[in-house]
């Protein structure tokens, strides 16, 4: 399609334009590279990072914690969501408790969890789970609530057990919403993992690598390059989950013209 291509060209032009203007502005203003690096210096630092073994180990450490936390979040979020979504009275009754727990920024829990768990990686995973479970849980509840009542009632009148109804009706119809929750959780979990690594000392991972650079060599172009790589990983994570969501549940979004639950 020509319009898609057209937009891609313009998007690329925007990137080049921003880069060029920034490069010219920094170069013309004559600030020292230590105060503010040229964008080209950031690019070359980013290229160096790929060959830096300890950076790659840090990325691996972050992604490992992220993956473990995602598995746990999805299991807890979906199971609890199916339960609460099916028992609407219970769900609306526990809502005030949620309203109190949910806004607590998970990162603030790092010192306490660290004391209780006495293990850096487990602390990171626990805190990321506490943050990432919410999008999965809430979207699952939302999905179960929007199940066609005729379907559940039909199965009930034919004598299916509540568990069978959840398995045959609630779970499949809530699946697109769950997928949206998982996608949102995946991006958020990555951000929280980096935050935890930055806050907790000696946890390893991208956040710790960035903090060490700030405390050590303090090369601003490297620090920005780390953020650039983190951004690219974030895009990759979102792309993988968004593509899977579209592949699996494209029919749902085409049918309802929505994008799943709340973000």
């Amino acid at each position: 399609m020509p319009t898609v291509l057209h937009r891609a060209y313009r998007g690329a032009a925007g990137l080049v334009l921003l880069f060029g203007v920034a490069q010219l502005a920094v170069w013309a203003s004559g600030v020292k590279p230590a105060t503010f690096p040229l964008p080209s210096a950031v690019l070359s630092s980013a290229a160096d990072l790929v060959r830096n073994g300890s950076f790659l180990t840090s990325v691996g450490s972050t992604m490992e914690a992220w993956a473990e936390a995602m598995v746990i979040s999805v299991v807890i979020g979906v199971l609890l969501g199916l339960l609460l979504g099916s028992l609407r009275f219970v769900e609306s009754a526990v809502w005030p408790v949620f309203e109190f727990i949910r806004p607590v920024p998970a990162v603030i829990l790092v010192p306490l969890v660290l004391l209780i768990v006495q293990n850096d990686k487990r602390t990171e995973i626990a805190v990321v789970v506490i943050a990432a479970v919410w999008p999965v849980l809430l979207n699952t509840i939302y999905g179960v609530r929007s199940v066609e009542p005729l379907a559940t009632e039909t199965l009930r009148s034919f004598g299916f057990s509540p568990l069978a109804i959840v398995r045959r009706v609630s779970l499949p119809s809530a699946a697109p919403f769950i997928a949206t929750g998982v996608r949102v959780a995946a991006s958020f979990a990555f951000v929280v993992a980096v935050a935890v690594e930055l806050v907790g000392t000696g946890m390893g991972g991208i956040g710790a690598f960035a903090a060490a650079e700030e405390n050590g060599a303090a090369d601003l172009s490297v620090m920005i390059a780390i953020a650039v790589w983190a951004g690219l990983i974030g895009i990759a994570v979102n792309l993988v989950f968004a593509t899977a969501e579209r592949r699996l549940f494209g029919w749902h979004f085409a049918l309802t013209a929505t994008t799943g639950g709340e973000e």
């Binding site: 609306s92 109190f100 806004p103 607590v104 603030i108 960035a210």
Partner: protein, 274 residues
């Protein structure tokens, strides 16, 4: 909402008979949750898990037992809680203004939308904590660093929702305005902004919740005061009561912020529901 969901809602309303029942049930559940927390922590008798009554008592002594002239706030509260909340709200306000202005411009000008799309999508994917060291280096410890971290962290939901909202204004309304030669400023204030308002509000709400997170992160990394900085002190002194105080305080703060936002939103968007 589908017809099925509405009929399901009606049934639930029927079961609950009215809102009052739900309210009472919620209160009871809330009380039961607190009681369970109290009893559970009492019987566990674990130094890490404190009873809510001891947390509330400690919070009172630490923050809310000050002189009346200071609205009962102690010097600890005025020195840490107020700067935190102030920075959070200021950062959120700046991010909101910039995000709405940029978002409406991008949403209305398709050339701008095409040019900025990859840039915006890349920038919002950058985990704000990864930039905290950059801001710390650029601004050194203090309020500018914290504001920069908060603003960068919370601007994206407002920006993206403003773009969405401004892009999908009813074309008929705009054409009518053009036919009547309504000036651009009036078009913006009377047609585009109101039509984008529900989306913008959704973005503002997400950003407000994120602002609390970014406030904590920024104060952990580069602050000499504030709630996050207090948490670091408690960590150094292994003051578990202090840690619980902060956690409960942030839960309450988040609840109050969300509630206040809902009140304002209901007022602002009252015309939309009818």
């Amino acid at each position: 909402m589908t017809a099925a969901a509405i009929s399901a809602d009606r049934r639930v309303v029927g079961v609950l008979s009215n809102r009052l029942t739900l309210f009472v049930v919620r209160l009871v559940v809330l009380a039961a949750a607190v009681a369970g927390w109290q009893l559970g922590t009492e019987s566990a008798n674990n130094p890490f898990y404190l009873t809510p009554s001891s947390i509330v008592a400690d919070m009172y002594h630490r923050w809310f037992s000050g002189p009346v002239s200071h609205l009962w706030l102690t010097s600890d509260a005025t020195g840490n809680l107020l700067p935190s909340i102030g920075r959070m709200l200021l950062g959120w306000a700046i991010a909101s203004l910039v995000g709405i202005a940029l978002g409406v411009a991008i949403g209305r000008v398709s050339l701008l939308a095409d040019l900025t799309e990859p840039v915006v999508h890349f920038a919002r994917a950058v985990p704000p904590p990864a930039l905290a060291p950059v801001f710390l280096f650029a601004f050194s410890i203090g309020t500018p660093m914290e504001l920069a971290t908060i603003i960068f962290g919370v601007i994206w939901p407002v920006l993206l929702n403003s773009i969405e909202g401004a892009r999908h204004v009813h074309p008929g309304h705009l054409e009518t305005a053009r036919a009547f030669r309504i000036p651009a400023a009036t078009r913006l204030a009377r047609i585009i902004l109101p039509s984008a308002a529900p989306k913008i509000c959704a973005g503002l709400r997400l950003s407000l919740a994120l602002a609390l997170v970014m406030m904590v992160v920024s104060e952990f990394v580069g602050s000499v005061n504030g709630i996050g900085n207090e948490m670091l002190e408690f960590q150094t002194n292994t003051d578990i009561t202090g840690m619980w105080d902060v956690i409960v305080l942030l839960g309450l703060l988040g609840m109050v912020l969300n509630g206040a936002f809902s009140l304002v939103e209901r007022r602002v968007l009252a015309w939309e529901r009818r």
